[in-house]
Amino acid sequence: MSDRILGAACLVAGAGMAWAAHDYAAPISYEPVGPRAFPLLLAGLMALAGGWLIARPGPQGFGSGREHFKSIGLVMAAVIAYAALFETLGFPFATAMMALPIGMAFGGSWKQSLAGGVAMGLALYLMFDKLLDVVLPTGLLSFILGGR
């Protein structure tokens, strides 16, 4: 069942790639093979593999893990929120906020996760930004830590 969904997704992706790539052309061409051939070849292979999966889906479906749907959704949301707010909130604050839901999804209590996150956010910030010279955004805490 789910192999068929994957196969259908591949067919759609292959068609989309072919549609996007069909008018790629070099304004002035020096070589026989232009920018279009390789993407079209890949689109064809993608569709071929998709067709195969639809015609001959494997026995196993999505596999185990249905019971984890809730925590997986939570962690996915936390990852996306972390990425989106990394710059605005700043590294130390965003990291603490991210560690709370993810730590709890991995079995920590909220106190442990929050304390761990705050410590981690500050320690990693000091290590990378101050010690190792990897510049990180400070966001909301810029009034204390400087930077932006």
Binding site: P32, P35, G50, A99, F106, Q112, S113
Partner: protein
């Protein structure tokens, strides 16, 4: 003699204080990453690669760090195999079969020390193998033209899909996805922007770091949610810490055999530590015959796979360094790391940048000695790390990954792309799709297209050039064999028991 001269030059690079320190740090981190169930060499290398770049390490130092991490992971995997009965990485699956029974019977210290020793021998022999064979292969590969390179890359893909086992179509699909991701951005030959959707952030392509971190760090975190490994079963090391002479003599022949097999398997693209350790385990089991107690705690069942997985890790550097075509996911990540420095690995590297190549080889020797030294006395310290709870570990992994991605371009866009690729990677992995071909495709995509276009430019579009030289013909035949033979073998293996049953 030339080789010896270059090797000495390599040691001069590897023995600088900075590189020595980096190798030690890499070995230490690698052991820990390898030990943690769920995290393997590819995750370790993927997470550290952007940091090496962000810290502005010179290319040879960065490569030494990543290589030490890789070697360290192969050492570390055995610790959790033995103490927890949960392999720390895929190469250490076989080690658990006899290592854990040994630990349960009070021989944890012996199992750990002798497996460290055989890991050392395995990596040492394989590194000597690199010194002997890599320059020869590189000299031969200098004759490769674009058509041969194109065929070689197709061969590498055929190997990695054919050997990936149960789902070759999905492995091939993963490679196609990787190749497609690599076409995003400006096509340097024609000035055409491909698949960017008008987005400025995509105009110079998807950053390699973003793909690697997304696929091997973010998706790994999601997968870890499902494997609730209980660290409660951790066995405390007690009794004798070191193996004795009798055990050493008993295991040495098997260790040496397994090291050689592991090296050869490691050199082949696609095959790797997992296959090497499984092969040598069953080989030693058969050779031991009736007097073996394999599965119940035979020392030889610990040493053989450990020698093999370390040897194959070192062996996998050969195709990467000499041909520029990595044969495994981990070395593919290293090629990507070098491309951040605008270095394209390949046969020319041996003559153009000997400091890099030989510095790396020399540091493999040094990192190996360091690993032996830290792994025997400090194994108790490492086993403490296994008690680190996931609620503290996982946010740490995500934070360090995000720092790595952010350090490249400092854009939120890259972080969002990382999350998206991570979630997509997770869904694909849940469908049984391996990620190593994807990363190989992403790394090789540009090279593959360029070589195809260059080859066809020579003949003005005539496809015949792709199968003109004996080398390319051989590679194409090999590629077809790699795709066709394993399914046939499986079919036969299924038929034979069926036939004997009736």
């Amino acid at each position: 003699m030339d080789t010896l001269h270059f090797l000495l030059g390599g040691f001069a690079v590897a023995l600088t204080p900075e590189n020595l320190m980096v190798a030690a740090i890499g070995a230490f981190i690698g052991t820990i990453v390898g030990m943690l169930p769920g995290l393997g060499p590819i995750n370790g290398v993927a997470i550290l690669m952007p940091l090496a770049f962000a810290l502005k390490l010179p290319p040879e130092t960065a490569l030494i760090l990543l290589a030490a991490v890789y070697m360290g992971c192969e050492y570390g995997g055995r610790i959790s195999s033995i103490l927890l009965n949960v392999p720390g990485d895929a190469g250490a699956i076989m080690t658990a079969l006899d290592g854990h029974p040994m630990a349960k019977s009070g021989l944890a210290g012996v199992a750990l020390s002798i497996s460290a020793w055989s890991s050392f021998i395995g990596a040492l022999i394989a590194t000597i193998g690199i010194v002997l064979f890599a320059p020869l292969l590189a000299r031969w590969a200098l004759a490769f033209g674009p058509a041969e390179y194109f065929a070689l890359m197709c061969f590498a893909f055929a190997c990695i899909t054919g050997l990936m086992g149960d789902a070759p179509v999905k492995a091939a699909l993963a490679a196609v996805i990787g190749l497609s991701l690599s076409t995003v951005g400006l096509d340097s030959n024609s000035g055409v922007y491909r698949f960017t959707g008008g987005n400025v952030h995509l105009s110079d392509g998807i950053q390699f770091i973003v793909v690697v971190i997304g696929v091997f760090s973010v998706s790994e975190i999601l997968l870890m949610l499902e494997q609730h490994h209980a660290s409660t079963g951790l066995i405390h090391i007690s009794g004798r810490k070191l193996f004795n002479l009798k055990e050493l003599v008993l295991t040495l022949p098997g260790t040496l055999r397994s090291a050689v097999v592991g090296f050869v398997v490691g050199v082949l693209p696609g095959a790797g530590a997992t296959i090497a350790s499984a092969m040598t385990y069953s080989m030693e089991k058969r050779l031991a015959g009736a007097d073996g107690r394999f599965g119940e705690g035979d020392v030889r069942g610990v040493t053989a796979p450990e020698a093999a997985n370390n040897a194959s890790a070192a062996g996998s550097f050969v195709p990467m360094l000499t041909l520029g075509v990595p044969g495994s996911g981990t070395t593919a990540v290293m090629v990507g790391a070098l491309s951040l420095y605008n270095i394209t690995p390949g046969p020319a590297l041996f003559t153009q940048n000997p400091a890099l190549v030989w510095g790396l080889i020399a540091s493999l020797f040094i990192a190996n000695v360091m690993l032996l030294v830290i792994n025997i006395p400090m194994v108790g310290v490492f086993s403490k790390v296994l008690q680190l709870p996931n609620w503290a570990l996982v946010p740490g992994i995500l934070a360090v990954s995000a720092v790595g991605v952010f350090s490249v371009h400092a854009t939120t866009f890259d972080l969002m792309l990382m999350s998206g690729l991570g979630i997509a990677g997770y869904l694909l992995r849940k469908h049984g799709m391996p990620m190593a071909p994807l990363i190989l495709g992403f790394v090789l995509g540009d090279l593959m297209e360029q070589n195809l276009r260059r080859a066809l430019s020579i003949t003005n579009g005539e496809l015949g050039i792709l199968v003109e030289s004996p080398i390319s013909i051989g590679l194409w035949i090999g590629a077809v064999a790699m795709v066709v033979v394993p399914p046939l073998m499986r079919l036969r293996a299924q038929r034979i028991p069926a036939a004997t049953a009736t």
